[in-house]
């Protein structure tokens, strides 16, 4: 935590942490406490006076069917994104790990979607699936499948899942590959001498040894799907059709900035904060446990 030798006491360290602490207080701690405070208030229609209502906003939130549905959709969305992108990335990392020639080239070609902004990823997928012009929509139609994500809620959901997973594959791939390269070669070699084939070796040696990486990535992917996919939803579906793709982050924005329901939006913010804090705590407990090994 602290160096054994350090500098003599002086006011200097306070000066050094000041910029970061100021920004943290002004833009993080103050707004967060405002959100918590506001979530306990109800404002009248003109925003002139507000009334303290304790947990009414939360009760309203959790008895609201629309919010409940949005919660369910978010869970579905994030588990499918995590499953799809983790599965694909694991397969690709396992194949890239056993290749000798060209591995770096493959890696280069697989990592760049990480650099694409969510909203841009949304634009790309929206374009190829555009119901009137999109090339994939056209192919699907030729196969007899009618694609229109502007009208069909399930198709809209599928589209944002594709776009979100597509962007996340590179991230997962890099971590899986790094994890696999850290596994001692002697283990797989010993198994190979005992006659285990590549697939068997993967399931009995590589996959169990990767479990810390997999767990870490699972949490990161859920965080990603919960919070960083706002741009995709906003660009592709705007939560529609009929709220079919309204995930929680989008709803906070929509209720707060478009619907101007301050108390309700603040209560939703608080719920989201609770989710992030839970996920971060889980993540850190796991890191501590790993250190003990």
């Amino acid at each position: 935590m602290l160096k054994r030798t350090h500098f003599n006491p002086s006011p200097l360290p306070y000066l050094l942490v000041t910029p970061q602490i100021l920004i943290t207080i002004i833009f993080f701690i103050w707004p967060a406490s405002q959100a918590i405070f506001q979530s306990l208030l109800v404002e009248d229609a003109f925003g002139l006076k507000s009334e303290f209502v304790w947990l009414d906003n939360f009760i309203e939130l959790f008895t609201d069917e629309i919010y409940f549905n949005s919660f369910g959709r978010t869970l579905l969305f994030s588990s499918l994104v995590a499953f799809l992108s983790l599965g694909t990335a694991l397969l690709l990392a396992a194949t890239a790990d056993r290749i000798v020639r060209g591995a770096t080239t493959y890696r280069t070609l697989l990592i760049w979607p990480y650099a694409v902004a969510p909203v841009v990823a949304g634009a790309l997928w929206m374009f190829i699936f555009d119901p009137t012009l999109g090339i994939v929509a056209y192919m699907l139609e030729a196969l007899g499948y009618d694609w229109n994500h502007r009208l069909n809620g399930n198709q809209a959901m599928a589209l944002i899942i594709f776009a979100a997973s597509w962007k996340q594959i590179s991230y997962n791939f890099l971590f899986f590959l790094a994890g696999m390269q850290a596994i001692p070669k002697s283990l797989t070699e010993a198994a190979a001498i005992d006659g285990a084939g590549p697939a068997w070796r993967f399931w009995t040696i590589v996959f169990p040894l990767l479990s810390p990486t997999t767990f870490f990535l699972l949490v990161m992917n859920i965080v990603y799907a919960f919070f960083e996919t706002f741009g995709i939803v906003h660009a592709v579906t705007k939560g529609g059709p009929a709220g079919a793709t309204e995930i929680l982050v989008y709803k906070v924005y929509n209720d707060g900035f478009i619907g101007l329901d301050l108390g309700g939006s603040a209560a939703q913010s608080v719920v989201l904060m609770a989710i992030v804090i839970t996920l971060t705590v889980i993540q850190f407990r796991y890191i501590e446990r790993k250190v003990e090994y």
Partner: protein, 282 residues
């Protein structure tokens, strides 16, 4: 590789090539769309092979602008994105270096309190506190300028943690030697700590540049002045306009331009990028 299995090797290459083809498909289509003229882009099926209008579209995108966004130039939006990304990346690195230095090399009251305050920022992504943060920024008069775009995103627990980790691995002998030679804290920081953590700074810069460039929700909230739009936001405006006048060839050209800088950074500085990614997140 453990043993030689030609068939499995062949399959591995096939799987990877197939996956790359799928992953690259959206980008290929974007590139193709950006190289055709407006008329061709309204006829189905859309082309799968590039046309010959690429440079004409490139010129048009910069000189005419696109869709509703016609009044704001693509060049200006790219510039805004660049300034915002640079301010966020450089700002985060500077304040994290300073606070990590204070936390590792000094013993002072409330040291752990400060450490936890920084840690809290890890738990509060901008998405969960948008309304109150917006109010703070509005009250400070930081709407529609570069300060408002970058400063609220500058505090970063991950960068501080990473530098703390790096500083902890710096041998104590370096500090002792510096002190014997009469160097003060800032001298030590500038002449020894910064040079030894050079690679980490560069790796972090790559990650933070991409983070800054790709910001969307925050600029969307606090910019109403067209001259402050970033390119990532601009694309959203164009998509909305596309419902009335689909100028897909120009929209896709702008999309390519918006993707290019971060992709060049990731691919060009691959080693640093991977280092930065795996070290900040763990």
């Amino acid at each position: 590789m453990v043993e030689n299995r030609p068939l499995t090797n062949f399959c591995s290459h096939a799987v990877l090539i197939f996956a790359i083809a799928i992953i690259a498909f959206p980008i290929w289509i974007t590139f193709v769309a950006a190289s055709h003229d407006a008329v061709r882009m309204t006829q189905t099926p859309l082309p799968l092979l590039p046309g010959d209008q690429f440079f004409i579209n490139l010129k048009d995108t910069f000189t005419q602008g696109v869709g509703n966004a016609r009044e704001q130039s693509v060049g200006l939006m790219l510039m805004n994105s660049l300034i915002m990304a640079m301010m966020i990346a450089v700002g985060k690195i500077i304040i994290s270096l300073l606070s990590a230095f204070a936390i590792v090399y000094f013993r002072f009251p409330f040291r752990m309190g400060f450490f936890w305050m920084i840690f809290v920022t890890l738990m509060l992504p901008v998405e969960v506190r948008i309304l109150p943060t917006f109010e703070v920024v509005a009250n400070l008069g930081m709407l529609n300028n570069y300060w408002g775009l970058s400063i609220p995103l500058i505090a970063s627990a991950t960068a501080t943690f990473m530098f703390r980790q790096v500083f902890l691995t710096v041998p104590d002998e370096l500090l002792e030697a510096a002190r014997i030679d009469g160097a003060g804290p800032m001298r030590f920081f500038k002449d020894i700590l910064i040079p030894v953590s050079r690679t980490n700074i560069a790796a972090l810069f790559v990650i933070l540049f991409i983070y800054g460039w790709n910001q969307y929700l925050w600029p969307l909230l606090i910019t109403t002045d067209k001259n402050m739009y970033t390119i990532v936001m601009g694309i959203k405006q164009m998509l909305e306009a596309a419902e009335e006048s689909p100028e897909w060839h120009l929209i896709m050209m702008t999309t390519l331009l918006a993707m290019l800088p971060p992709i060049v950074v990731v691919v060009g500085m691959q080693k640093l990028f991977i280092k930065g990614l795996t070290e900040t997140e763990k």
